[in-house]
């Protein structure tokens, strides 16, 4: 038996896979196979075939997380030097279209984990709305495939394809109940805003492609842009400025950062609850991973933080986005009556806090951003899981329906309270440490940002009001008739998976709080890897310059320095 396995491992095909690092993409391949099998099963007409497709989706995503976890923890961080051992850094896959590094591994694990939790609590909700078809999990898995590839994209084409693989299924999901007017409208709105923002991102990308002289790989583009910057004494090119503003503006749309957030409350209100959870967690994590990559490759690599007016303008852009998102999100959340709209504005506010980490242009701040994202996955998904549970039993989304819930459903109340307190940033939860690390690292990087931090702290105080308001309604108010009619008995087996995901999120929220330091070590390691000089592309570039100099064909190439030095 073992001989047979040995022989199999030494076939040319397996050697090719190992040499080309394709086995690191195993989680994505599992997702792909799951989607294919599941779609076949879902094409059957009987209820049995749809049940099969659902269980295929759940098992498939579970295996994908398991494999992703193994691959992620296979990369060990050395706590002293923040470097990796036992596994090489920056493994290229598929001709360098994807890079395997720690950021990718971490984000992938959490994207897949979020997907699994969303699938766990979406089935009962869909069945309640008499939608038993199994396309839903397949769409969610397709979107997750895009989200996880987006985190590892190392090429402009890959970036675009992954972004749309995430986007198009999300549009369908947002309008999933097409006979419901609100839901279909949410889908249309999401599609139009999403499509327009993609077009803007693409225009920015096309300018970057032109500036780099026709390369799509990130390391090549970085090296080319550095060349441009050192040779043209103007420093930051105006065209690069336009390209970056369009790219960042488009991503801000996807992140629903104010003033580009108008679509968020409408889409979150209209979409089915599990989809809202998915959009506010998994999509946001993927979009932030994209923003981190874009910044690390196209911005941080260019100029040190103390030089260049262009950098100052872009930093100012982040300040504006962050301040507007925090203030508009929190103030608008104050007067919401619908819990989905409240969570939408709370998402906008959290995006505001997260964007603070990009203001200072330092990798250390980005490590805290990544930790914040991980904490955010658990606390926001957990809150949405409890909201789904309550919505299943009361059938309503307004906060008044939660009156006196503690009398009938003490566990729901406790769980939702913990998640909301974590979102507000109350100590011992992950949310507190996330805010603490973020604010601390930003102010360490640049003490001029003190006013921003003070503003963010004031905003967290404001946010405390609307989070605590929900808890007050649940605990203090007299039970409404609807709550009165709820039974206290153990829930139906249908809601068991939802309870499972609530418990998983509770554990995640508390554990990430208790073990904040090890988690931060991982995220710091991920960021330390990000901007390392890439020997292959620098070599290729030098070769190109050398050849151009030999040929003597182009005057502006001759003007370039003879050799590009590593940063």
């Amino acid at each position: 038996m073992t001989d047979w396995i040995q022989a199999f491992l030494h076939t040319p095909f397996m050697r090719f896979i190992v040499v080309e690092n394709i086995h690191y993409l195993l989680p994505e391949l599992i997702l792909l196979v799951t989607i294919s099998i599941g779609l076949f099963q879902a094409s059957g007409r009987s209820k049995q075939s749809h049940d099969d497709a659902w269980s295929t989706a759940l098992w498939g995503s579970f295996f994908a997380i398991a494999v992703a976890k193994v691959l992620a923890f296979h990369l060990h961080v050395d706590p002293e030097t923040l470097t990796l051992y036992s596994t090489p850094v920056n493994l290229p896959v598929f001709y360098d279209v994807i890079r395997i590094d720690l950021l990718y591994s971490i984000v992938r694990t959490f994207v897949l984990g979020g997907t699994f939790l969303v699938l766990l609590f979406s089935r009962a909700y869909l069945e309640k709305h008499s939608s038993t078809a199994a396309e839903f999990p397949m769409l969610v898995l397709t979107a997750s495939l895009g989200a996880s590839l987006l985190a590892g994209a190392n090429d402009l084409i890959m970036l675009f394809v992954a972004l749309e693989t995430l986007g198009i299924p999300s549009f369908i999901l947002a309008g999933y109940f097409r006979n419901d007017a609100k839901c279909a409208e949410a889908g249309l709105k999401y599609l139009l805003y999403g499509g327009a923002s993609t077009a803007v991102i693409l225009f920015g990308i096309s300018l970057i492609y032109g500036l780099s002289g026709g390369y799509t790989q990130f390391p090549m583009i970085t090296a080319k842009l550095q060349l441009l910057e050192t040779t043209l004494s103007g420093g930051f090119q105006p065209v690069l400025m336009i390209a970056m503003v369009m790219l960042l503006g488009g991503i801000a749309f996807k992140l629903s950062a104010a003033p580009f957030h108008q679509w968020t409350p409408d889409v979150y209100e209209g979409a089915p609850l599990p989809v809202t959870a998915y959009l506010s967690v998994v999509s946001k994590v993927a979009a932030f991973a994209l923003l981190i990559r874009v910044c690390a490759n196209f911005l941080f690599a260019l100029s040190p933080a103390d030089a260049g007016t262009g950098i100052a303008v872009l930093s100012g852009l982040f300040v504006v986005l962050s301040v507007l998102s925090m203030i508009l999100g929190n103030v608008a959340a104050l007067r919401q009556n619908n819990i989905k709209r409240m969570m939408a504005y709370s998402t906008v506010a959290h995006v505001g806090y997260l964007l603070l980490g990009f203001v200072v242009f330092r990798e250390a701040a980005l490590a805290s951003v990544l930790y914040y994202l991980l904490a955010y996955v658990y606390m926001n998904l957990g809150a949405f899981a409890v909201i789904t549970l309550i919505s299943l039993q009361t059938g309503r989304d307004d906060i008044q329906a939660y009156s006196g819930l503690i009398r009938k459903k003490p566990f729901y109340t406790l769980a939702l309270s913990i998640f909301l307190l974590s979102l507000a940033g109350i100590p011992i939860t992950a949310g507190f440490f996330a805010k603490f690390f973020l604010f601390q690292s930003v102010i360490q990087a640049d003490s001029n940002t003190l006013w921003l931090i003070v503003l963010a702290l004031l905003n967290s105080t404001v946010s405390l009001y609307y989070y605590l308001n929900v808890i007050r309604v649940m605990v203090v108010n007299e039970p409404s008739d609807m709550v009165q009619s709820l039974t206290r008995r153990v829930d139906a087996p249908q809601t068991l998976p939802i309870l499972l995901s609530v418990v998983a999120c509770l554990i995640g929220t508390l554990v990430l709080g208790f073990y904040a330091d090890p988690a931060m070590m991982y995220t710091r390691g991920a960021m330390a890897q990000l901007n390392q000089p890439d020997p292959t592309s620098i070599q290729a570039l030098n070769q190109e310059i050398h050849m151009a100099t030999m040929a003597g064909d182009s005057a502006d190439v001759l003007a370039l320095p003879a050799v590009v030095h590593q940063r």
Partner: protein, 113 residues
């Protein structure tokens, strides 16, 4: 034909693309008809395609003994994906049309935003 190759350079293509993109963006912002908005979206994406193909045509780097055609490949990817996006968009529009009997965006008022 000689006139064209002699006088039309990269910047002409870029200006055309920028104009098309602006027209598309204006169309997306100002139109009330959903079909028109979707058409304007396509216009924006096609402007990007012109950019890519023009850049690729004028600046393609050598890779070994042949040119890199990544820009043109990118344009084909954009065409494919935008077709998929338009299909999803039109499907949602049909669902809404069945309910409202109109494609006027101002009439879609279930969400108060």
């Amino acid at each position: 034909m000689d006139f064209l190759t002699a006088h039309i350079g990269l910047s002409h293509y870029l200006i055309l693309a920028a104009l098309l993109f602006t027209i598309g963006l204006l169309g997306v912002i100002t139109s009330r008809n959903v079909i028109r908005v979707l058409m304007s979206l396509e216009l924006m994406l096609n402007a990007v395609n012109i950019n890519f193909v023009a850049f690729n045509n004028f600046l393609a780097p050598m890779y070994g003994d042949h040119f890199l055609f990544s820009g043109q490949a990118f344009a084909i990817f954009i065409l494919t994906v935008s077709a998929a996006e338009a299909a999803v968009g039109l499907a949602i529009v049909i669902a809404l049309y069945r309910r409202y009997s109109t494609v006027d965006m101002e009439r879609f008022t279930a969400l108060n935003g």
